[in-house]
């Protein structure tokens, strides 16, 4: 699974993207966030306030309860400020 980070979330976790192999207990975006946060304090810090985090699964906006698969591309980013 490819995970992408953008804007201040990228800065907090210190990388743009990573490849992980999904374990079976991770079924939803929420599970993934919990797993990512458990790895290191910098990840926990980036995901400490989920009201400020948005997610896209395979380049489509998704909710945190969205079910995910091993070949999905998951992107985490703050609310958008385009235009």
């Amino acid at each position: 699974m490819k995970i992408l980070y953008f804007a201040w979330i990228r800065e907090k976790v210190g990388c743009e993207s990573e490849e992980i192999s999904l374990s079976e207990e991770i079924e939803t975006v929420n599970d993934l966030i919990e797993w990512i946060s458990s790895r290191e304090p910098k990840y926990a810090n980036a995901f400490s306030d989920l009201r400020a985090v948005r997610v896209a699964v395979n380049m489509e906006f998704a909710q945190f309860d969205k079910r995910i698969k091993n070949n999905d591309e998951i992107a985490f980013f703050p609310p958008i400020t385009g235009g």
């Binding site: 992408l4 953008f6 804007a7 201040w8 896209a56 380049m59 992107a75 980013f77 703050p78 609310p79 958008i80 400020t81 385009g82 235009g83």
Partner: protein
């Protein structure tokens, strides 16, 4: 047509290209967004636009096709820049053309309202004279404007 690019564009030429092959067009509406010099009462040094390559293009195409479905348009264009920009620089251009003005004006407003909250861009502002920088937060006003179109 949509374009995501770092380089600047020539609005006059873009508008001319958009309408040159279609004599049916009676109204051409356009909007150009520029980098403001002052933000949060601070003088801006630069603004860097980060985006999500792939998803950006996908969202812009989806937004454009929604406008084409909703209004009788003869032509449309969205250009969005990314990377480091300075005060006064062009960030975005939206143009829509139709036989009559109402479709052109309405769809142009619709597209720019959508871009504000649905296109995956993030703005980083650096200010003159201080070392700090800030990621721009969305305003509730922008979100409300997008909602206005969703409820129609």
């Amino acid at each position: 047509m949509i374009r995501v690019q770092h380089q600047d564009f020539d609005p006059g030429k873009e508008l001319q290209d958009l309408t040159s092959n279609n004599k049916n067009i009676g109204g051409l509406a356009s909007f150009i967004g520029l980098v403001r010099e002052f933000s949060n009462d601070q003088k801006l040094d630069s603004m860097t636009l980060e985006h999500y390559p792939g998803m950006t293009e996908k969202m812009l195409l989806a937004i454009e096709s929604q406008a084409l479905n909703q209004w009788p348009l003869d032509a449309s264009l969205i250009i969005h820049r990314y990377g480091c920009l300075n005060p006064g620089d062009r960030i975005v251009m939206v143009a829509t053309a139709s036989s009559h003005r109402q479709a052109a004006l309405e769809s142009c407003t619709f597209l720019i309202d959508w871009l504000k909250t649905e296109a995956p861009f993030w703005k980083l502002e650096k200010y003159k004279g201080i070392e700090t920088y800030e990621w721009v937060k969305p305003t509730s006003k922008d979100t409300q404007k997008t909602k206005r179109w969703k409820s129609r």
